[in-house]
């Protein structure tokens, strides 16, 4: 019996594509990221426009909701001497900055070696032991304080929150459409990284307001530079990322723009620096277990 039926090997590449999978993937990824970036930029711009209309009292209520989470062991009580001193400095600088009447600044001291200070919702400003240990004089401390107060004054925390909420929502929508919990996790993670940071423009704005307050209170802006030297010294080996990716302007650029501002407004950059209270380091010591009196 001769075969009437014969099967031949079909050619390849009809039902599948010869295109490299990485090519398709990278094209798609770029297109979608571009879309997300555009959406987030336009939405967060809208959020920025609308956020200042949220009354400060509403912001304070929002902050109270988070207050329980902040209440950890490292947070030093508000009647500690260091907190009282910081609070009085804050009140002086707030007045110098012309903080609106409905706004208030509440200073908290955190017993942690992080070299940092930050302002958040409801006018709460946090200072870390690591930063205060390295502060050489009151003028430098006032520069940090005035900078953080300026964040509150310009409503930066609520603007950032608005941006974070908008970004989070946009990411959740996109990733649920893509149908992946994994994608949601990853995108959410990247969203969180940028969530409550202030933009470089906001930092710049706060620097400017802080300088004005400093000149107002002390009659000169000496001490502002020494703050940045402290920050620089805290991370001497740190390789700074390109400024585009960084939330704060580069330290060099900050010092430069500070000198530029000072000369523009005829503020003396030198002057008698006000020392910190003699008791200051003892106050820090009282609340901290390990403390290095190196300066």
């Amino acid at each position: 019996m001769s075969l009437e039926y014969k099967q031949i090997q079909p050619p390849e590449g009809i039902n599948t594509s010869k295109e490299h999978p990485l090519k398709e993937f990278s094209l798609l990824l770029m297109a979608i990221l571009l879309f997300i970036v555009l959406a987030v930029v336009s939405l967060s711009y809208t959020a920025h426009l609308l956020a200042p209309f949220i009354p400060f009292s509403a912001e304070q209520k929002m902050a109270d909701m988070f207050a329980d989470q902040m209440n950890d062991e490292q947070l030093v009580s508000d009647d500690a001497e260091v907190t009282i001193y910081l609070q009085s400095l804050a009140d002086r600088l707030a007045m110098a900055q012309g903080l609106p009447d409905d706004m208030s600044i509440t200073v908290h001291y955190v017993d942690d070696e992080t070299v940092n200070a930050f302002a958040t919702l409801g006018g709460h400003v946090f200072f870390f032991r690591g930063l205060l240990e390295n502060i050489p004089n009151e003028n430098a401390l006032a520069m940090v304080m005035a900078h953080e107060i300026a964040h509150v004054k310009h409503r930066h925390p609520i603007k950032s929150l608005g941006r974070a909420v908008i970004t989070g929502t946009a990411i959740a929508v996109v990733s649920s459409a893509a149908g992946g919990n994994i994608i949601a996790d990853v995108l959410g993670e990247t969203g969180l990284l940028t969530a409550l940071k202030f933009s470089r423009e906001q930092e710049q704005q706060s620097d400017e307001s802080a300088m004005t307050a400093l000149a107002h209170v002390y009659g000169h802006v000496g001490g502002a530079n020494s703050l940045f030297e402290v920050l620089e010294a805290a991370n001497p080996d740190r390789l700074q990322p390109p400024e585009f990716f960084s939330s704060h302007p580069h330290t060099d650029n900050r010092i430069e723009s500070i000198s530029a501002m000072a000369s523009k407004n005829h503020w003396p950059t030198m002057g008698d620096v006000t020392p910190l209270p003699i008791e200051f380091s003892r106050w820090l010591e009282q609340t901290g277990d390990t403390f290095d009196l190196s300066y």
Binding site: S17, E24, G180, I182
Partner: protein, 158 residues
């Protein structure tokens, strides 16, 4: 941050292993297909009367195959914008061909010289776990025509 690192590791592992597995599978598919082309698979329901088979038997081949992590993510991105789901094309192509091959291998073991009335069925086994499992089952079955030739073992003819 750690999530991102784990994600990237999973992606590159998925991509690497997936690529190698696919390449090997295609190589094996083409080799076996070329060898088994001597047993044609025909979709006609009934063999022509002239064939007068001595014996017929149901043969089938089934395969379950999954895409890798990388392709699942790529497919997720693709589903946002639409278009050819290239990640799934090779998956289904491989599954169909492998199922037919397994069916033919069974037919070959029975001493058949062709298979009639080929049917294929596809079942997704990711029901209810849409985002976790990207697997598919393909079942191919048909009627093996076993000639009354000397090559047929006696017990099957009987």
């Amino acid at each position: 941050m750690y999530d991102l690192i784990i994600f990237l590791i999973l992606m590159s592992l998925g991509y690497g292993f997936g690529r190698v597995a696919e390449k090997r599978h295609y190589k094996s598919i083409i080799e076996r297909e070329t060898a088994l082309n001597r047993i044609p698979a025909i979709v006609l329901r009934f063999p022509p009367p002239s064939l007068k088979p001595q014996h017929t038997e149901l043969v089938m081949g089934s395969v379950v195959i999954s895409i890798d992590y990388f392709k699942r993510i790529a497919a997720g991105l693709r589903s946002l914008v639409g278009g050819r789901m290239m990640s799934y094309e090779t998956l289904l192509d491989r599954a169909r061909r492998e199922a037919v091959l397994r069916m033919k291998e069974q037919a070959d073991a029975l001493g058949a010289n062709m298979v009639f009335n080929i049917k294929m069925e596809t079942a997704s086994i990711s029901k209810g776990r849409k985002n976790k499992i990207g697997s598919v089952e393909v079942l191919a079955y048909g009627t093996a025509i076993i000639p009354a030739a000397e090559s047929v073992p006696a017990k099957i003819v009987a």
